[in-house]
């Protein structure tokens, strides 16, 4: 599951590394760190961290992260979990003959990843049917994914059937 953490840190060297320790020690995969310089309050700077926390031991790891941050005296402004969304679509046409690896690569962007594919075809030269399952980290990524799918559809003359 992808989570967003907003904290306020002293604007001083080493503070960011110190804040990230409880996350990295408890299974979190840091995906992005954003300093909100426009919203500095005194000597505190708001920092937004996006990280992926695996489902395995999710609750206990999340608790350890919270406790670790509090122990370091770091103020948690917000910690929100957004359930990743899986979107499936069927591609019909020459999916393999039109550089399948390129298709997969183009559907793999920050916050968007192909998690499974399943195919039916008579032979590799014939039109095929491929069911893609794609995970997006939040609803906001859906429009970006749809744009990517549409570009691929047009370029490779595929029929795309969305779920």
């Amino acid at each position: 599951m992808v989570l967003e953490l907003e904290v306020r840190l002293m604007d001083a060297p080493g503070k960011l590394i110190e804040m990230l320790e409880p996350l990295s020690q408890n299974g979190a995969n840091i995906q992005g760190v954003f300093h909100m310089h426009g919203e500095v309050q005194g000597d505190l700077i708001p920092v937004l961290v996006t990280f992926l926390l695996p489902e395995h031991h999710f609750e206990s790891n999340l608790n350890k992260i919270k406790k670790g941050l509090i122990a370091k005296g770091i103020e948690i402004v917000r910690l929100s979990a957004e359930q990743a969304i899986t979107i499936s679509f069927l591609a019909l046409g020459h999916v393999f003959q039109t550089d399948f690896v390129d298709t997969i690569r183009r559907l793999s962007k920050p916050g968007i990843r192909v998690i499974s594919i399943e195919a039916r075809f008579k032979s590799i030269k014939d039109p095929s049917a491929v069911l893609f399952s794609i995970q997006i980290e939040n609803k906001q990524k859906e429009a970006e994914l749809m744009q990517l799918i549409d570009e691929i559809r047009q370029e490779k003359d595929l029929v795309i059937i969305k779920g």
Binding site: L90, R120, K122, A129, L131, I161, K162
Partner: protein, 333 residues
């Protein structure tokens, strides 16, 4: 007595006449008035009788031109104005690009102060606003329930669901495409074979482009959105995708995942689209064969589903006569 004029004596027109001939007494009891045909127009003449056409011979052999009141050479458009019909039933085939000749018939009838009932989609997906505005100006009623889903009372939902707003429509409204996709799913047939089967059963035309290309569904979607959501769209505003490139492999893969490939017509957020979608086999829209299914999503009262046979002579005739009876109720007679 309420006088009816029928334009178009094809499959639907004949079923309208048969229905009035066989159930006329029942209809009369519902509205306390007798329904009679005073004109039945074809493209090379008309049967006319201001006192009421005898329907017996028509029902017996269906041949308009052998009827004792047949008058060859009558031009429909000229005659509508002076004919005795109070309600004009427009049931001619649609020219998808111009809406003619139906559009001219409908406008001429309204202009002459006559009420109109239509099963002809073209005029309404091309000139909805013009027709309805003219009807308002001339203070006549125009009903076109049979244009979408035949006898399914979907357009009547404007009145029956008047307490809420329709904010989204999802619909399977082309029976031919639904039949073909259903056969591909249940019988593992390729598209070409399923189409041929649809043609043999009379569900698809010799030239099936309007159905399998998505244009028929697009026209109906425009009528639904304009009527139920108050939009002012035409068929040119619809993004359209047909079913011709759906493959057996795709259908099989979807089926394995508990999904069906369906041609769905969507209206939401000012956008209209007819396209292919994967839907769960358990969805209320997962109708098979020629059945139509329409979902109306409302702002406060959830979703409503309408389902039924969306094509066929008796079904369309039922839709037409329901509208005729609705109008006839308020007419003096």
């Amino acid at each position: 007595m309420v006088n009816l004029s029928l334009i178009g004596y094809g499959t639907v027109g004949k079923d309208v006449v048969r229905s009035v001939a066989s159930k006329g007494v029942l209809f009369g009891e519902k509205i306390q008035k007798k329904l009679v045909f005073t004109e039945i127009y074809e493209n090379d003449g008309a049967v006319t009788n201001p006192k009421g056409i005898n329907l017996e011979s028509l029902v017996a052999d269906g041949n308009l031109r052998q009827h004792p009141d047949w008058k060859p050479g009558i031009k429909t458009l000229d005659h509508i104005v002076r004919g005795a019909g109070q309600i004009i039933i427009e049931a001619t085939p649609t020219n998808p690009n111009t809406g003619e000749p139906g559009l001219s018939h409908v406008l001429a009838a309204i202009q002459a102060g006559k009420h109109v009932v239509s099963s002809n989609k073209g005029p309404f997906y091309l000139q909805y606003a013009k027709i309805l505005n003219l009807a308002k100006e001339k203070k006549v009623k125009v009903r076109f329930g049979a244009t979408v889903g035949s006898a399914i009372p979907i357009l009547a939902a404007k009145d029956t669901l008047a307490g809420c707003e329709v904010v989204e429509i999802q619909a399977i409204i082309n029976g031919t495409s639904n039949f073909i996709l259903s056969r591909m799913t249940t019988e593992n047939e390729p598209f070409e074979l399923a189409l041929k089967e649809a043609q043999q059963l009379g569900y698809a035309e010799a030239d099936p482009t309007l159905d399998v290309g998505g244009y028929d569904a697009a026209g109906k979607l425009v009528i639904l959105a304009n009527h139920l959501m108050g939009w002012s769209k035409t068929i040119k505003d619809v993004k359209i995708e047909g079913i011709t490139r759906v493959t057996s492999e795709g259908v099989e893969l979807a089926k394995k995942k508990g999904l069906l490939i369906k041609q769905i017509a969507f209206a939401k957020d000012g956008k209209l689209e007819v396209g292919l979608r994967l839907i769960p086999q358990t969805s209320p829209l997962a109708t098979m064969g020629t059945l139509n299914a329409i979902m109306l999503r409302t702002d406060v009262a959830g979703d409503y589903y309408f389902m039924g046979r969306g094509a066929g002579g008796p079904e369309a005739a039922t839709g037409i006569l329901s509208d005729v009876i609705y109008i006839a109720r308020d007419l003096p007679g």
